[in-house]
Symmetry: D3
Subunit: 267 residues, 6 copies
């Protein structure tokens, strides 16, 4: 099933190359900040993509000079009771959790400033392709706030506890090379070919067997909460299922016939 | 409330720049080894600092050529029953846990050899500034012992499991550059400006909103024991509180007025 | 007690230097692939070594140009029901768990291609010494499969979640230098001196106190599943025992007498 | 927003008393077994209810003499590859997880046999009201299967590990009294007044403040995965938000004025 | 070292029978509600007791007709910002955590109503002795609040998840017998002999070896957060220490000489 | 493969009814205390049983008037260094872990006193059948010791934290009825028919499909260490395997043909 191409309040969604969904933050007029309906819209688009049998990879990018400025000031001002704040923060975390739970991997393409919640949104993707113009800003502390949108979770998973403390306590701005050194970025690519390279990886992954890709993503995202014995039980059960999929049969045949496999889906 | 400046058996404590506490291991005559009352004294000083509304950052440093030689041989000899050993080791771990639980971040300044428990003490701080003269010695195995003072915990958190095994099984001595590569050190600074740079970071942090700083520290120290869903619940609850602090208001105003924020405390 | 030197279906086992066990994958005719009885044979040899008071370190290496090609195609074909697949995968994980639970550290020596389960077997060792000829192949996804033999567990522990997703989803082949950068390899050594260097580390560890070495290995392998407080309880209890071993006495005396310690065992 | 009353393949959904949703398994012709679209239909209905601001409690009941026979044999037969089996089992667990994650509590009303997946579905509710005609059958083992639909999870949480092993290994059938003794049932009620009593509790809960009810449910469902310190952070954060809701203000006023509170919602 | 007998704002502290500390909530004029300084006072008294080598057991009781009414309304009113609420709730949880971490067991003596935070305080003790006049009230939900002072943690540990949801969502009041059935109470004792029986158990425990008692308490309080393997490591380490204490020697001798042991302390 | 019937130092092993292994503590002359080689012998016998395809259930019983007195005093005396104590305690825990990890369930038959380690050994079985003569003694504290052989782990899993503290701190002796009330015992049976009833359950379980039984045991024993999402992954994977076993086919056919299934094994 194809997804519905549409402009939402804070972003638009398109389908490209048959099986790749592109989410573009295209409110450059607002510095791509998260507007009021951003969390619900993102959740809703992701739900549609998750159920689409066509889509096999997702790209999250901006159109313009800035990736995202994070929560818009108007939105922050509108959260005038603690309950509304909790509700808004929860809706952001719910959208991020949906990103984690998607069967398709998500590649963030960062070609400018990703600030605050915008940086944390990018870090919540499976991979980040950044150009030399990318910057990651974590100014929360200077506003009397801690990182939201799952910030400390994603930072500690990628950069470790000591670097996360440094970033969050000092409110650091990292350029692309620093972000790479701290483990936040998958690859630095010249700005001109950035989108092309990200699409190339998306297409590569889209050609892989979908059940395997979604399983790797799902297990990796939860593996820090597992014991070794639980991991083994999970690996043994799912792998035993994979041994009897058509995709495995095709993969094996392709290997023996020294050709590229043509994966069709697992049922 | 100011803290009481005092010389303890193994170290002295001072207050500088109004809001920075300096703990100096100043028993160079003993190679700054941990003497009998070291764990209790450290715990007690830290408790006082934790309750002080004035102190916003802590520096742990040595005076002399060695950071610390770890547990003094006389102390080790005096632990002549397993119960006494357990009690002494517990008192060290209790002091380290207090370091973890402090609302204020602690910066270790290492300008010479940090050996055994002395190295692990430094690694238990939030940040380590080291000069090129710094050395980290883990000789436990050669004494028929494993790392104490939380050694394997802090090493695996910073350097990962494989490097920790290498360090602990071989009883390695790491110079500053090796320690940096292994992820143990925040920054290498020339010996001459080492203290100054550490103070500069302490002052930078002391100017940030205290509730935010202590929250970042506290969550980061426990995040490896959380599931993602628990983290989100914690983030949403505390962040909703932060949205209604005076420090957040000041931070927001300062941002809009393009001036440096003047954080006063959150109540 | 010495171990029995013997040729198994997929490897041979020897004892060298009195206290080092060498497991050599020596079925170059089969690309050192895992044959039918490989998991049980490995488990059984490891059990014998675990109980041997003589052996203090283990080397896992290949004889020939390839480390291991992972599960043999004939074995994969023979798993023609999901139950047989589950049973075979479980037997591999059981052997890997035995590697984790061994009192002796295991050093993998990789001088050629380690592919699929073969790569994951190497990564399950405590240390990897690799030559510039080493390659690590993770082609599972191209066969419609996820990494088995504990692959995602060991990869995420060493390389982190983002790099593991990249390796596993793309089916990457890493050369020695890339594997080093990703944290998979302990040391790169020229092919000519590779075995010699690994033996040198094995001998170094074999001279250390056995109880300490096995404790460090055991705690490090489980530390990601512990809370800080549990770690402290474990450290305090075991360390209190170590304080009263003959090996600690010898270590202390050797230190004071400025000679190399001669550890005899702890009882 | 009201929910859409509708007949699905395996159940119908109605709204009663303004704020209570009733899900009735009404395919007595099929012994209320789960038909093909059951998991997706249930998930979809629950999603609609979760987003409805009107609904404050849910009742899950049967119409007829049997609660549910679990997965229908035709469905089981149709899962003719391991992948399809995994997909079907996953869709059941996804529906159960949705039951756990609902903001509204769910009361199961069991007035006859609840067998296999049907029993586990009932146990996944927050409360079970059972008549003396209720029976809970766990025949999986006799079919060469383990409990599915989260069976071992819910059984161990309610009845403990020893009783769960007994139930699952022997394939026990428990009558209402035995189920009560084993901790599975909230209350035994005469068949005639069973639905009325369940509705009475649903109405009682529907009159409580919604944010408090959903928070209690959510924390209780995850508390076995939390450390004590994480629980405290969560409690402190959310409770601080609750202190500033209108519902708390109303609750406090009602208490002081000795009248029943009239909770309106938290914003 | 003896403890200082003293009247605090909300309770008094005495030492009886040489080694038993009695904390009496004696502000019947205030229904023994928690006044402003209650959390800090309790924490401070417990710290003093924890460090006292004399005290071996603690009793927490009321003087008058009510155990405690929980947080005083004036205190609740004074928490007029979310930050103050968080701070107050944190101070309560800190005091409860101190109760958990005390080396001495605490016996709650409940002879009347224990309401809200007062009920949760009683449940945070190691044992509860209740008379038939005891009542446990959990009215939080009716005030638009969730249980604080660790309520959901202690309730789920004692009564399980289903009963906790019932208690907390319905705002139940449990009489002594119901509390016993739900697993909250250790023993029901006639009101006349209630204190005497509690003292009798306190004295029994005070005669046991202190290191053993504190170890049992500490491990039991953390065991739900441990894996089995971690538990075993902890048990083996600490038990190996206990084998070489004087108290073990005395226990063994007393057993062989068929007399009551006279435990002196472990060093 | 049949097991070897044999008399060991502390017990004998027999095979009955073709597929049931009986371990009898038959050193009544020693009050069935654990002699020096007990842990290794038990581990070794269990390993043999675990690998036997014939054995489907295990009974652990005594011959005589006492189940077991736990560790023999001579053994305790012989552990004259902390290292030896740690080693002995570890060998006991290793044997208990083997009991947990066995594919076959173990039924303890307790017809007299089970004291200390003897009680904990019985509690480590999957089920306990006890006569009215059974007694469970936990005298550790009176000997200056904490429960060993996994005592606190098994007690808290069965009786909860509060009752465990009571049992362990007071050194309680529980009769059969008390043990039943505290959740330690599966069933109380008159002494005359005790063995017969236990055999009846063993035979019932031996007729069930082996893979299902071992899976239920294994998951239940680890479920307290799993998150809900990990449990679901495990359930879905293994259940998908079970759907394609011959035992499931036989179970389904037997059900449809209304006859008792004749399970042959899963391959």
């Amino acid at each position: 099933m194809a997804i519905v191409e549409k402009q939402y309040e804070s972003f638009k969604i398109e389908q490209q190359e048959d099986n790749i969904a592109i989410i573009s933050l295209n409110r450059g007029d607002m510095a791509n900040a998260f507007l009021t309906k951003f969390p619900e819209d993102l959740y809703s688009v992701l739900s549609e993509i998750a159920d689409s049998s066509e889509i096999k990879a997702i790209i999250l990018k901006d159109e313009g000079k800035i990736f995202s400025a994070g929560a818009h000031f108007d939105v922050m001002k509108a959260t005038d009771t603690p309950y509304k704040a909790k509700k808004y923060l929860n809706s952001l975390n719910k959208a991020v959790k949906k990103m984690y739970d998607m069967p398709q991997p998500i590649i963030a393409v960062v070609d400018g400033a990703a600030a605050g919640g915008g940086a944390n949104l990018a870090l919540s993707c499976d991979f980040i392709f950044a150009s030399e113009k990318a910057k990651f800003l974590f100014p929360f502390v200077n506003l009397g706030l801690m990182p939201d949108t799952g910030g400390l979770w994603t930072l500690t998973r990628l950069a470790g506890v000591m670097r996360t403390k440094e970033i969050a306590m000092r409110g650091l701005t990292l350029n692309a090379q620093e972000a790479m050194t701290y483990g936040l970025v998958t690859k630095i690519v010249p700005s001109e070919s950035l989108f092309e390279e990200a699409m190339s990886m998306a297409k590569e992954i889209a050609d892989k067997p979908k059940f395997v890709i979604s399983t790797i993503k799902s297990i990796c995202n939860k593996i820090s909460e597992m014991t070794h014995e639980d991991y083994c039980q999970i690996e043994e059960g799912i792998m035993s299922v994979m041994f009897f999929t058509k995709d495995h049969e095709e993969g094996l045949n392709a290997f023996l016939e020294k050709r590229k496999a043509n994966f069709q889906g697992e049922e």
